[in-house]
């Protein structure tokens, strides 16, 4: 069981989701976030105040997958999220010790298998 944490551009989310669904990966959680990396800072001005906004809007995906799906998942994300410009984001793969499906109490792989309905 792994938790795949991907940080991507918000405007690529639609494409990433499409690729994930095609790879049969349906369960995931999405969080809006801001990222800083190698991208240029934006300069904003409000009345006399000038600021450098080093943070870019990003979206973070948390996807719990069983080992066999890790490769497919990473590939799907990369396929959907890559634009080739600085700022495309990162993927982190974290180990997971246990997964529980709250509705049923099922654990581990069973917990992330989709309902057949």
């Amino acid at each position: 069981m792994k938790l795949i944490k991907a940080i991507i551009r918000p405007e690529q989310l639609g494409d990433v989701l499409a690729h994930l669904y095609r790879a049969d990966i349906q369960g995931l959680t999405i969080t809006r976030c801001d990222g800083h990396g190698g991208e240029h800072d934006e300069v904003e001005t409000y009345r006399g105040t000038t600021v450098k906004v080093g943070l870019q809007e990003k979206v973070m995906l948390d996807i719990g997958v069983s080992e066999s799906f890790v490769e497919a998942c990473i590939e799907a994300i990369v396929a959907g999220a890559r634009t080739g410009e600085v700022g495309d984001g990162k993927i982190f793969v974290l180990p997971v010790e246990r997964v529980v499906r709250i509705r049923t109490g099922e654990t581990d792989t069973a917990a992330v298998t989709p309902v057949a309905a």
Binding site: D24, P114, A116
Partner: protein
């Protein structure tokens, strides 16, 4: 009664006061006065704006998932209720008829032209009155937001405007039985506020409390909108109260300035009560307080002195303030406190009108100036309106319940009425939303999840 007394006053004071309902009865041959028309054209627009303003006042107080539903409840009244008013409501309210209700003589606007009604074109009078029924019906929504189904609501306010509002307006302003008793209601304390509040009370009871009411915190999602609504309501209220003089007269000046002073006094008292009780002055309280002041001064605006209006505003803060505190201890989920603000505020305003009415300011005496019976008449008129509105609203809701469910399902409530009944969200960023091509029929069922897929969900 307002008509005759006002006429007497008009003579006595030598002012060109135009009593709101002198038409079609004993009024002298009327002529359109341009200055009065100029003012009433603007008053029409001002009162119209109050319904969108109410949408924001109410909309800010609910949770984000019900914001559009709440706002649309107000805006929709500008559609269905206004059309019903043109088709039938106006003639039921202002047609000659009998002591209880008008007639069908002006159905479909028959005979309403640019001839003078008082000193303004009849058509303008019709339009101005239309703004009142629209906001009155919309006020009710505050008691049923976040769980009443939208189609049932539409049906309810449309019928209510015809079966409840029109007769009540007839009683008080259309030459009906209450206008014969000498009840004072300058701009609609009873007709608008008590009337709406009684319907709201009944509707809250019939529809029932929200599933989370009393169990979970349901906080206003957007307090600045509450302030925006309150500010625009105040602005529009100058047309509501000032315009009820039906002309650019001294009476309009009195009503307008009273509409400026009374809420100021309510505001000050409300802030002090807040400070005393919790050590803070809440912004929602500021908005609520000023609306309560506006409600309370509505029946009084043309009958009390400016100092009277200040006093009335200050006193009116107390009952509503504590009514709101009390309400949250009950199972009555009058979600946006229509009863405490408009009902209690309206009743207090009506009674204080009976107390503070000043012959020097509108020609009517009150308790303090010697007419002890006045308060009784005021109480009677308020009670009659509340009773009738409550009973008929109950019947209407039960009837509508046979046709279409009143109440959203638990699931709809959980998800929010915006999605359930409007298919929209108030604030979206569109991430993760997938365009459905116009040719695909939107399916409400989910995309089929592959049955035996080894994938993860």
């Amino acid at each position: 009664m307002r008509v005759s007394r006002l006429s007497r006053l008009a003579l006595a004071a030598g002012l060109a006061i135009l009593p709101r309902l002198a038409f079609g009865q004993d009024a002298p041959p009327a002529e359109v006065v341009p200055a009065d028309t100029a003012f009433m054209l603007v008053a029409l627009a001002l009162v119209m704006l109050m319904t969108p303003a109410l949408a924001f006042f109410y909309g800010g107080l609910v949770r984000a998932k019900n914001a559009l539903n709440t706002m649309t409840m107000s805006f929709a009244s500008l559609g269905v209720v206004l059309v019903a008013w043109a088709v039938l409501g106006y003639t039921l309210a202002f047609g000659p008829g009998n002591a209880v209700v008008g007639d069908f003589s002006m159905a479909l606007l028959r005979g309403i032209g640019l001839e003078a009604k008082g000193t303004i074109p009849h058509l303008l009078f019709f339009g101005y009155q239309g703004t009142f029924v629209v906001i009155t019906a919309a006020l009710i929504s505050g008691a049923v937001v976040e769980r009443m189904r939208f189609p049932a609501y539409l049906l309810f306010i449309t019928l209510w405007s015809l079966v409840v509002y029109a007769p009540v307006a007839h009683w008080v302003w259309g030459g009906g039985w209450l206008s014969g008793l000498g009840a004072l209601d300058f701009a609609g304390g009873a007709v608008v506020h008590v009337n709406a509040a009684a319907a709201a009370l009944v509707a809250a009871l019939v529809v029932g409390p929200r599933r989370d009411y009393g169990r979970r915190a349901m906080l206003p999602h957007h307090v600045p909108f509450v302030l925006l609504g309150a500010g625009l309501l105040w602005f529009g209220w100058f047309g509501f109260n000032g315009g009820s003089a039906l002309g650019a007269s001294g009476l309009a000046a009195q009503a307008s300035v009273n509409t400026f002073l009374a809420p100021a006094a309510t505001l000050v008292v409300w802030m002090l009560l807040d400070l005393k009780r919790t050590g803070t002055v809440t912004a929602v309280g500021v908005a609520t307080g000023l609306v309560v002041g506006l409600v309370a001064v509505t029946p009084a605006a043309g009958f009390v002195s400016p100092m009277g209006a200040l006093a009335l505003g200050a006193v009116a803060a107390f009952p509503s303030y504590f009514a709101i505190l009390l309400r949250t201890r009950t199972r009555l989920d009058d979600s946006l406190d229509v009863v405490a603000a408009h009902g209690v505020g309206g009743v207090v305003g009506a009674l204080l009108t009976g107390v503070l009415a000043d012959p020097a300011w509108g020609g009517q005496a009150g308790l303090l100036t010697g007419d002890a019976a006045r308060v009784g008449v005021q109480a009677l008129s308020v009670a009659a309106v509340a009773l009738y509105s409550g009973l008929v609203s109950f019947g209407l809701l039960k009837l509508i319940g046979f046709v279409t469910p009143l109440r959203a399902t638990d699931k709809m409530e959980r998800v929010g009425i915006d999605l359930a009944d409007h298919g929209e969200e108030a604030y979206t960023h569109g991430e993760g939303a997938v365009l459905v091509h116009p040719d695909e029929t939107p399916v409400f069922a989910a995309a089929p999840v592959p049955a035996a897929s080894p994938s993860l969900a």
